[in-house]
């Protein structure tokens, strides 16, 4: 069917081409090209949606349009819909914890503005050559995902070079402004993920370029926490808070998915998964799918799978609490190395370790733990070798805990 449409389109193109080409009217030719292209993109969008069927449930049941946000972020979606009704939007800053649906909202927003063509993306590794100073040239490699209407990058991947990246990308986008069917100069959208991890310099650079090129492109910033985004940048954007979904909402989504997958989901299991997910929708859906694979028909008492690294950290925490000695410290060091090597971010290790340690402590000690964790995580940001700071935290905890134990028994 699509093939037929394409064929018609091509046919049309050639007929008109003959008409126009003879007059050598070039501008009308390009217009025609655009017209044909828009027909093609409309066609392929159907194809695209059908290919979602095979991926993970998380991706399969991601809302494609803002209308489809029913249980989670419904009000935000409504507001956004109103906002972009005229086909334009200000700079936006989405913030909220991981798994709350920021990215989904952005993608839905894009397709609401530009139509399904926004979903026709390609991933590529791009290299930019940037003149840092008059003498030095910097090369930056970054992965981008782009459609005709937007580019998505994660500038923090570029490390300390991130400031060059954001400026360069925006400049590049400004150079190639799209022209719509009516011949009006349109705009592109630049989606920057993990904005809170951008360096201060990069954010300052962003501030400048945001204003300079605002006619050619809109920025959508995505961040976990708004605190790490500069005040100046924040004030230039319309902040959109995406709250973590409540357990009830997550349950609704899970039921929905189960119904679409033609599964019977027992309520106990559903609430179990929802609670387990700790208000992280992504985690909830993944866990549900893992449950499905592990055991079907579902049992109410079925266990919900957690992640390997979390269990490992829990194990480490138990070991630390069981014995405080240099030998144990050395042993734990090996474990932390393993976690780090398996690409678990150090901050996450701090956070999780802190959580599992404080689980079994009284209130006074909990304060201590959190204080030390915060201090050493801060040091980690300043320093360069994660293992040193994590171990310093563990040693500090061991000392504090031991002192506490001794005083309690003495």
């Amino acid at each position: 069917m699509h093939g037929g449409n394409i064929f018609v389109c091509v046919f049309l193109f050639f007929r008109l081409f003959r008409l126009f080409a003879l007059r050598a009217n070039f501008s009308s030719l390009s217009l025609l090209l655009l017209l044909c292209f828009s027909i093609i993109t409309k066609n392929t969008s159907q194809n695209l949606i059908s290919s979602y069927i095979m991926s993970l449930w998380v991706d399969k049941y991601r809302p494609i349009e803002l209308n489809q946000c029913e249980h989670v972020n419904a009000s935000v979606a409504n507001h956004l819909k109103e906002l972009v009704k005229d086909g334009d939007c200000p700079h936006l800053l989405f913030y909220g914890p991981s798994g709350s649906g920021k990215k989904s909202l952005v993608l839905a927003l894009l397709s609401t503005i530009f139509g399904p063509g926004a979903h026709k993306t390609k991933v590529e590794q791009k290299t930019w050559k940037i003149d840092a100073t008059s003498t030095r040239k910097i090369e930056v490699d970054l992965m981008t995902q782009s459609s005709n209407y937007h580019i998505e990058i994660n500038p923090s991947d570029a490390g300390y070079k991130d400031r060059y990246v954001v400026q360069e990308v925006i400049k590049e986008m400004a150079r190639s402004r799209p022209i719509d069917a009516q011949g009006n100069a349109g705009y592109k959208i630049l989606v920057l993920t993990e904005c809170d991890k951008l360096s201060k310099e990069a954010q300052h650079g962003l501030r400048r370029t945001m204003e300079k090129y605002s006619s050619a492109c809109r920025l959508i910033l995505i961040a976990d926490s708004v605190n790490r985004v500069l005040e100046a940048v924040r004030s230039r954007c319309l902040p959109v808070r995406v709250a973590a979904p409540r357990a009830e909402d997550i349950e609704k989504v899970l039921y929905d998915i189960a119904a679409k997958e033609k599964l019977t989901l027992p309520p106990q299991l559903c609430s179990k998964v929802a609670v387990f997910a700790k208000r992280d929708l992504r985690r909830a859906i993944l866990a549900l799918e893992a449950c499905r694979v592990a055991n079907y028909p579902f049992k109410e008492t079925q266990s919900v799978q957690t992640t390997d690294w979390e269990l490992y950290i829990a194990q480490i925490a138990a070991e630390i609490l069981a014995e405080q000695s240099p030998k144990r410290l050395l042993q734990v060091r090996g474990r932390i190395y393993e976690l780090l090597v398996n690409c678990i971010p150090p901050t996450l290790i701090f956070q999780t370790l802190c959580f599992y340690l404080s689980k079994r402590l009284d209130d006074e000690m909990k304060h201590e733990v959190i204080r030390w964790a915060a201090q050493f995580e801060h040091k980690l940001q300043l320093g360069s070798k994660a293992i040193i700071h994590i171990e310093a935290f563990i040693a500090q905890f061991m000392a504090t805990y031991k002192r506490k134990l001794i005083s309690a028994f003495a």
């Binding site: 991926s55 694979v293 957690t306 390997d308 190395y337 040693a395």
Partner: protein, 1030 residues
């Protein structure tokens, strides 16, 4: 099945061994020109030849005659002199011969000489004629002219035919320096002078003239001398032996030599030569001692001490080019030939050998198809050899290429220009034509090098990780890839696919720059050699060098150098050369191989222990520890190493501390030190040293220090880098729809653990969709979909050698290997270290202790491995194969869909995956190696079974298989077998089992069978009762 594996292996081995043998023979053949003693020094000659910029022609000793005649036209007097001398000499070696014989011999010699003189004259004329045309040749000189032009004329006599002389061109240099012993070359020349002195005053005079550098004609002078002497002594020895035989006594070599000495007039000359020879040998040894590394570099494939499996893997890959390069059969074909072509089978009269192969023909067939592309080239046209420094990558590449019959052309990527064009040009040149240098040499190549030049090139690019960075590097890499695929320069310019093998060498296979290349090339990961082999080689060398070495010291050397043979040899040579022995005291402590390492360990001992008497003296006052330490740290140099090793050794330092408070404070200090090191503050280095000195202060109560360890943070960082590459690859390969994976850095943290569960459902025995319950097949189908959309598949890991048969079927691994990212409890590879005692030597444990410790370690690891963190299933080998196949099939379907949207093939109906028959053009066939492999496999198995079961009437085989192979020309039929696993399924008829019963109806059945085959191809489900599984 096991058995057949062994057979294959044996065959491979046998084949390789044969090759080895052949090669050895070849070598032996080549060696006759060089006396065996000089072989070790080949490199020297080569270097000397290469290094000198002379316009000297390459001439073998046999060519002297020609050269001499050029310059020799007025040397008649000399000739006469020599002839007389020769007469004398020719009598001398055989004094005990009878008069008759002597006379005969004399006559013979005379005749020969006359003949030679005649020839000489002819040649002279010819050469004169030739010379006038030659381009760069020096003008013809008389000997006098030659002398005045700075040639020194020495005649070196040969006992056999002494009509030849050697002319050497000599560069000018003040004579005074000759006396210095400093230069080895001078020594050689001195001996040269002595020779000249003996020969006559003319030579002596010219020896007194200025000499520095011999412009060698072909080989270094001493080699030529050696060779001549060798011949001479051989002749003498032969005559002596003859004599001895005649007298029925068997003199030992010693006696022979003494006999030689005793030869009065006649042997005096020879004795002189002997002495000189000895001296030369000594000198040579001196020269050779320049580096044992090159002296004892492996020369043959069997000399290599690197990991055997990797070696063979590379060699095997090289051999796969044989069909293209040499038009020979590749090893796989050689072994398969009898099976593929039944007529050959018949011809070979079906020995037992063949029957063995029958069983694994299909496996071979399948493998062969996987490995070769349509044109018979290997699928992977580039080999990427990786390994740590000193693991012998370059040596392996060179030797394997030589062994496989190639001439190695090496491009050092680091030294060539970084530009794409430069590299590509160089590569093209090397691959497509003879190198420029060689064609220039063209005219005067000697026979030996000629045979070498006739060999095809094999390109070796060293250190490619150095070039493939940044934009330009990317260009270079894509150009290289294109070259490999034969698409460089568009359709018009392309010279077709690559015709010669290319071997790339890098340190780190997983560096980001090489990602693209990794997919396209055969990966050979060179593991470090076995410790036993390294020490064995070290012992061998030390015994050759007459160094008494302590085996324990050698093994420690090997260990501390981390099996880096280069470092080992350098160390061994450096430490033992002066004293002629190598003892425990000479063996380095851990880390000393890297210079700073030793210092670092010493430093650590000071940080965690040190209270030195002198410290008290130099730094009086209360802050003495601190100031002493601070000064000491400041002079150390490598801050990073300092930080890392301080951190590394903290827990093993026995701080006098039961409350852990000191540990907390010390690690806090280290944490601060890290901050100051990374900080850009002006005084930050001062603070950094201050923090480390503070660690020393905390540890000042520490009295003992069990062991000092070299920091291992680097190892962890490398491993992290490797795993990051895996995730990146995964993110790139995931389908765009999989938003939760692509473009998300954290996907390895939150999505990965679930994905691994989801793609590994419980599918029972996974025998195929037919045998599964509704739920099972649904789950599996879903798993396949997810696997595919997540960009995963199962593939045979390329790092495992193809010789490793045991893992062949079970070795299907996730690709990209994301399952490695959830491995916990086994430790980071390469991070477990051996304890080292306080004085720096590795703690020597008794064997029992060591075993006990190892077992304890293993137990702990096993425990952790068993208590799986997440209860996650793993797909069995069958299911993996099934999923891998389904993923491939899905890819094919999708491609077919995009290729022909109307849909040629029947769509699936209601989940039932029937047999699909599809037709593709040949263009697509190339892209689908796997399905082609299966098709071929089926065919091969048909042939095999027919062969196996048809017993007596073999004529049927030829009849029934021939038409089949004919029908496959042009269009390839793809048959998709539901539930395909490793086991083969095919139809066997009762008549096949009982040939005697139906022998009379043979012809009819043949027709019938053909029809059956056709039918089977269309629908293999309707098999009827007579079908059974095999």
């Amino acid at each position: 099945m096991e058995e057949t594996y062994i057979d294959e292996d044996e065959e491979d081995m046998a084949f390789l061994a044969e090759q080895d043998l052949d090669d050895d023979e070849e070598n032996a053949g080549g060696a006759t020109q060089n006396p065996p003693g000089t072989q070790d020094l080949d490199w020297l000659e080569n270097e000397a030849n290469g290094g000198a910029t002379q316009n000297s022609n390459k001439r073998g000793p046999s060519d002297f005659e020609k050269n001499n005649t050029e310059n020799d036209d007025d040397d008649d007097g000399d000739d006469a002199e020599k002839a007389a001398a020769k007469k004398k000499r020719s009598i001398n070696p055989t004094p005990s011969l009878t008069e008759e014989e002597l006379a005969k011999e004399l006559a013979e010699k005379k005749r020969k000489q006359q003949e030679l003189e005649r020839k000489e004259r002819e040649l002279e004329l010819e050469l004169l004629r030739y010379k006038s045309v030659a381009r760069n040749a020096p003008p013809l000189l008389t000997s006098a002219e030659a002398v005045s032009a700075g040639f020194r004329v020495i005649s070196v006599t040969d006992p056999k035919d002494s009509t030849h002389r050697v002319y050497l061109k000599v560069e000018e240099r003040p004579f005074g320096e000759l006396d210095g012993d400093s230069n080895d070359e001078n020594d050689v020349l001195l001996s040269e002078n002595q020779l000249a002195r003996k020969k006559g005053k003319r030579g002596y005079d010219h020896a007194r003239a200025t000499i520095n550098r011999i412009h060698l004609l072909n080989e270094p002078i001493n080699d030529m001398l050696m060779e001549i002497e060798e011949k001479k002594s051989a002749a003498l020895a032969a005559s002596l032996e003859e004599q001895a035989n005649r007298e029925n006594t068997m003199p030992t070599e010693e006696e022979m030599r003494s006999a030689e000495e005793e030869e009065t007039m006649s042997v005096e000359d020879f004795a002189e030569m002997q002495r000189k020879k000895k001296k030369i040998i000594e000198l040579k040894a001196k020269i050779a001692s320049a580096s044992w590394l090159t002296k004892y570099a492996p020369r043959k494939f069997t000399d290599l001490i690197s990991d055997e499996r990797s070696n063979r893997e590379l060699l095997r890959w090289l051999k796969m080019w044989d069909k293209i390069v040499f038009n020979k059969k590749t090893p796989d074909q050689m072994m398969n030939h009898s099976i593929i072509n039944p007529s050959v089978m018949k011809a070979s009269n079906g020995q037992n050998r063949n029957n063995n192969y029958n069983n694994n023909s299909s496996k071979y067939q399948q493998k062969t198809e996987e490995l070769y592309d349509a044109s018979g080239r290997p699928m992977k046209k580039i080999a990427l050899v990786s390994g740590g420094p000193g693991s012998g990558k370059t040596t392996l590449a060179h030797i394997a290429a030589k062994h496989a019959g190639y001439r190695v052309v090496e491009i050092n990527a680091a030294s060539t220009q970084k530009s794409t064009n430069g590299l590509v040009e160089a590569v093209k040149q090397a691959v497509e034509m003879r190198s420029v240098l060689e064609s220039m040499k063209g005219i005067s190549v000697s026979t030996r090098s000629d045979s070498q030049n006739a060999r095809p090139n094999c390109l070796v690019i060293d250190e490619i990780d150095a070039i493939f960075g940044g934009n330009e590097g990317k260009g270079a890499m894509s150009a290289l890839l294109k070259l490999a695929n034969g698409t460089l320069g568009g359709k018009k310019n392309s010279n077709g696919p690559l015709n010669r093998p290319i071997i790339l060498i890098c340190n780190d296979m997983y560096s980001a720059a090489l990602r693209q290349l990794r997919d396209a090339s055969k990966l050979v990961r060179l593991r470090p050699p076995l410790a036993a082999r390294v020490t064995g080689r070290l012992r061998e060398i030390s015994s050759k060098e007459k160094i008494s070495s302590d085996p324990r010291a050698l093994s420690q050397l090997a260990e501390t150098c981390e099996l880096d043979i280069r470092a080992c040899l350098n160390h061994l040579q450096y430490k033992s050369l002066a004293r002629g022995k190598f003892t425990m005291a000479d063996a380095p402590i851990s880390g000393e191989s890297k210079d700073v390492g030793a210092k670092a360990l010493e430093m650590m001992r000071d940080v965690y222990r040190g209270r030195h008497a002198f410290m008290e003296k130099t730094y009086p006052g209360p802050a003495k520890h601190f100031s002493w330490m601070y000064d000491r740290l400041e002079t150390f140099g490598d801050d990073n190493l300092l930080l890392e090793s301080t951190f590394e050794n903290l827990p093993s330092a026995k701080l006098n501390d039961s409350t852990m408070e000191m540990f907390a404070l010390a690690s806090n200090d280290i944490s601060n030190a890290d901050i100051f090191k990374s900080s850009k503050l002006a005084n930050s280095t001062d603070y950094f040293y201050g923090q480390i000195a503070s660690v020393h202060h905390r540890a000042s109560g520490c009295s003992t220090m069990d062991s000092v360890e070299f920091p291992k943070i680097k190892t962890a960082e490398r491993e992290l880098q490797r795993k990051r590459e895996i995730t990146k690859e995964w993110m790139e390969k995931a389908k765009i729809d999989s938003r939760s994976i692509s473009m998300r850095n954290s996907s390895s943290v939150d999505v990965l653990p679930y994905v691994l569960t989801i793609i590994a459902p419980d599918v029972g025995r996974a025998a195929g969709y037919d045998f599964m319950s509704q739920n099972e097949s649904e789950v599996l189908k879903r798993a396949v979909d997810v696997t595919r959309s997540a960009g995963l598949t199962y593939a045979k890991t390329s790092s495992k050698g193809s010789f490793d048969r045991s893992t062949y079927s079970a070795g299907l691994q996730l690709q990209p290997a994301i399952d490695e990212l959830v491995k916990y409890g086994c430790g980071v590879p390469g991070m477990v270290s051996k304890p080292i005692s306080a004085n720096g030597a590795a703690i020597r444990m008794s064997r029992e202790e060591w075993i006990a410790q190892r077992n304890a370690l293993n137990d702990e690891r096993d425990k952790l491995r068993n208590e799986k963190l997440v209860d996650r299933r793993e797909l069995g080998p069958n299911a993996r194969e099934l999923v891998a196949r389904e993923v491939t099939m899905d890819e094919i379907r999708e491609r077919a869909r995009s290729y022909n949207p109307e849909g040629v093939f029947t769509p699936e109906k209601g989940g039932e995956r029937g047999v699909e028959k599809k037709q593709f053009t040949n263009q697509n066939v190339v892209n689908l190696p796997q399905s082609a492999a299966y098709d071929e496999m089926k065919k091969a198995s048909n042939a095999r079974l027919e062969l196996g079961f048809s017993g007596g009437n073999k004529h049927r085989i030829a009849a029934s298989t021939k038409p089949k192979s004919l029908t496959t020309v042009g269009v390839t039929k793809y048959k998709y077998n539901e539930g395909f696993t490793n086991a083969l399924r095919r139809t066997v008829y009762m008549k096949d089992l009982f040939p005697g019963m139906v022998a009379s109806k043979d012809v009819e059945e043949e027709e019938g069978e053909k029809e059956e085959d056709e039918k089977e191809a269309i629908n293999n489900k309707n098999r009827g009762e007579e079908a059974m599984m095999v």
